[in-house]
């Protein structure tokens, strides 16, 4: 490839979710240069959109705040948002990443004063809330956005409204001429922390996700429960805005299923236990039914499971439902067999939450570079080879929870540093 090129000591981290942020911070704090590339307009990835973590029920933004402060204070760490990696070539010590940046239409002059948003009229789907709400076409991605910088939605580009938005900015921060750009980035090692997306619940046709507004998935529930989500943190039925008090959780919605995701996504059981806790905290009379095959509360999570299990208003029903349909009153009806009691049921709920699993963002179509090993699901395995220079962290490396993601990110940081040291 580029044999003559000097070896790079910089480490590129692809994806700025909790794993990417952790890996980048750990690299920088060990005294190495790092470039953190994020596809979206702000950092934090999936966890920013979570209300709380299991099992402590603490808030993801708390740890992110610490990490962001570390980023702000560390000159070795450079963040590039709106940047997607198109390809990686080269070998250890000598990689070249092709990076494409999408326009944000807002440059670094932005002070986040919000004047642009005040004049914007068009509302666009809010990607941060998984489309559950709408947001002005000039917007701050969310209250904890880092970098704290606005975005102008591509939908209004080329309209008079865009010019109005531009005119509203006193600091010359709105740049409507921004275009997609591609550049090459040299790195001595690469950490893939590209994370995951929720499995498309619509693909599980029998669970009615498309057909009934009161059948939602688990990441959407996180937004409903979050204080800065579309309902201000109240868990309400999307259909009529009434409190969701009788709620079913359907475990393994997609996971552990050869027709969908053959693997267990590991986090969904715990997520539903956590959601049961949200509901029970919000509504004293909430009743929660969790339909499951196995509750996989791994290691210390079993204490959390016990805690939720001891709540008489949370029921555990060992059953994978056959189908979920809209009942005569429009409420979702969960149908199936209670396996332990051997009873056929048709149970109505205010809200049904599909505990969908995690799909690696890289996906099955991702062509792994030569020094990376990928499994058939699209997870990029943590490297074991001694001469590799590309590593994976977080859910890019397998279906794992946040604690394991940060653990894997710290390990990946070490391996990447070793790679650039070895050159």
């Amino acid at each position: 490839m580029s044999e003559g090129r000097p070896r790079s000591q910089t480490i590129a981290v692809i994806g700025a979710g909790i794993a990417g942020v952790t890996a980048a911070v750990e690299v920088a704090e060990t005294g190495y240069d790092v470039v953190l590339l994020e596809k979206g307009p702000s950092l934090g990835g999936r966890v920013t959109r979570l209300n709380r973590y299991f099992p402590k029920l603490c808030h993801p933004t708390c740890g992110l705040e610490i990490n962001y402060r570390r980023i702000k204070e560390n000159p070795r760490l450079k963040v590039i948002t709106m940047a997607e990696v198109q390809g990686v070539s080269g070998s250890r010590g000598n990689y070249s990443l092709t990076v494409k940046t999408r326009p944000r239409y807002v440059n670094a002059n932005c002070t986040a004063c919000g004047a642009c948003s005040e004049v914007a009229e068009t509302e666009v789907t809010d990607p941060f809330n998984y489309g559950l709400s709408r947001v002005k076409a000039a917007y701050l991605p969310h209250e904890h956005a880092f970098p704290m910088r606005f975005v102008v939605a591509p939908e209004v580009i080329g309209t008079p409204e865009a010019e109005k938005i531009k005119a509203a900015c006193k600091y010359g921060a709105v740049d409507l001429d921004e275009v997609e750009e591609t550049f090459e980035l040299s790195a001595g090692a690469v950490i893939w922390a590209t994370g995951w997306r929720p499995y498309d619940a619509a693909k599980i046709e029998v669970y009615g996700y498309k057909d009934c507004p009161d059948i939602i998935n688990n990441v959407e529930l996180e937004r409903l429960a979050n204080h800065d989500g579309p309902t201000g943190g109240r868990i309400l039925r999307p259909s009529d805005g009434e409190p969701a008090k009788k709620v079913a959780f359907i475990q393994c919605a997609g996971s552990r299923d050869i027709n969908h995701l053959p693997y267990c996504s590991m986090i969904c059981c715990l997520a539903s236990l956590k959601h049961a806790a949200y509901l029970r905290e919000q509504y004293a009379d909430a009743e929660v039914d969790i339909y499951y095959i196995d509750i996989r509360a791994h290691d210390k999570m079993s204490a959390f499971y016990d805690r939720i299990r001891n709540d008489p208003q949370v029921n555990f029903i060992k059953s994978k439902p056959g189908h979920i349909v809209a009942g005569e009153d429009g409420r979702p009806l969960v149908c199936g067999e209670r396996t332990i009691e051997r009873e056929i049921y048709r149970n109505p709920y205010d809200l049904v939450v599909l505990a969908t699993g995690m799909v690696p963002s890289l996906g099955a179509n991702f062509t792994a570079p030569a020094d990376l090993e990928k499994d058939e699901y699209g997870f990029v395995l943590p490297s074991v080879a001694d001469d590799g220079g590309q590593f994976s962290a977080g859910v890019a490396s397998g279906p794992i929870d946040v604690a394991l993601s940060t653990q894997s990110a710290t390990a990946a940081a070490l391996k990447a540093i070793q790679a650039v040291r070895a050159g």
């Binding site: 029998v206 393994c252 552990r256 299923d257 050869i258 027709n259 969908h260 095959i293 060992k318 059953s319 994978k320 439902p321 056959g322 189908h323 149908c335 199936g336 067999e337 209670r338 396996t339 051997r342 056929i344």
Partner: protein, 203 residues
């Protein structure tokens, strides 16, 4: 003809019957993958009319409950809608297994009185005799398998339907259609049965 059933199990979870099912029942080789999630029984259109439902039936197979399994009404209530097959997260071909369990129940004398036994026997008689299914004769044969009086009663119950069908030209009164080469067809079926019998004794 199938490989002989294993002897009565002396203890619960004797795996000999399960292994017999794995090896001799169509689709049985996938049965061990069942993780008892219940999606099959929960998806069944007339699952409420089943004594066990496929999921529990499969657990009973593992538990070695040969008599209960082969005497079950579960397979006779299968409408062959294949929902369980396409929904099973483990790819267990539930419908096929139930169909072949039904066949085995007939073969080993567990299901003499099932409606379905009578019907499938009538059906097979037509297929075997004419090479094609004659709906009128199959239906008649099925009704009369309950005995003359019961057969007439059942038949009369559906007389209106039959008359409607005749009127619409969808039920004929003449001689049965059939394949031209009946002899060849019967030879094939005879040979197939021979092969099965031969294999059953070999194993």
């Amino acid at each position: 003809m199938s490989v002989a059933l294993p002897a009565e199990a002396e203890r619960t979870y004797d795996l000999n019957f399960a292994r017999w099912v794995y090896r001799n029942v169509n689709g049985g080789d996938k049965l061990s993958l069942c993780m008892q999630c219940g999606v099959c029984s929960g998806s069944c259109p007339i699952g409420t009319q089943m004594d066990y439902g496929p999921r529990k039936l499969f657990m009973m197979i593992r538990a070695g409950m040969k008599e209960e399994v082969l005497s079950s009404n579960t397979m006779w209530n299968c409408t062959s809608c294949y929902r369980c097959v396409v929904r099973c997260p483990r790819g267990v071909p539930v419908t096929y297994i139930l169909q072949d369990l039904a066949s085995k129940a007939v073969e080993f004398g567990y299901a003499k009185k099932e409606d379905n036994t009578r019907f499938s026997k009538a059906f097979w008689w037509s297929a075997k005799t004419f090479g094609r299914t004659d709906e009128r004769l199959v239906t008649a044969k099925y009704y009369f398998s309950f005995g003359l009086v019961e057969g007439i009663r059942k038949g009369l119950g559906n007389l209106k339907i039959a008359l409607g069908m005749i009127k619409a030209g969808r039920m004929h009164l003449g001689a049965s259609h059939g394949v031209k080469d009946r002899k060849g067809l019967q030879a094939i079926l005879k040979k197939a049965a021979e092969i099965e019998a031969r294999e059953a004794t070999e194993s």
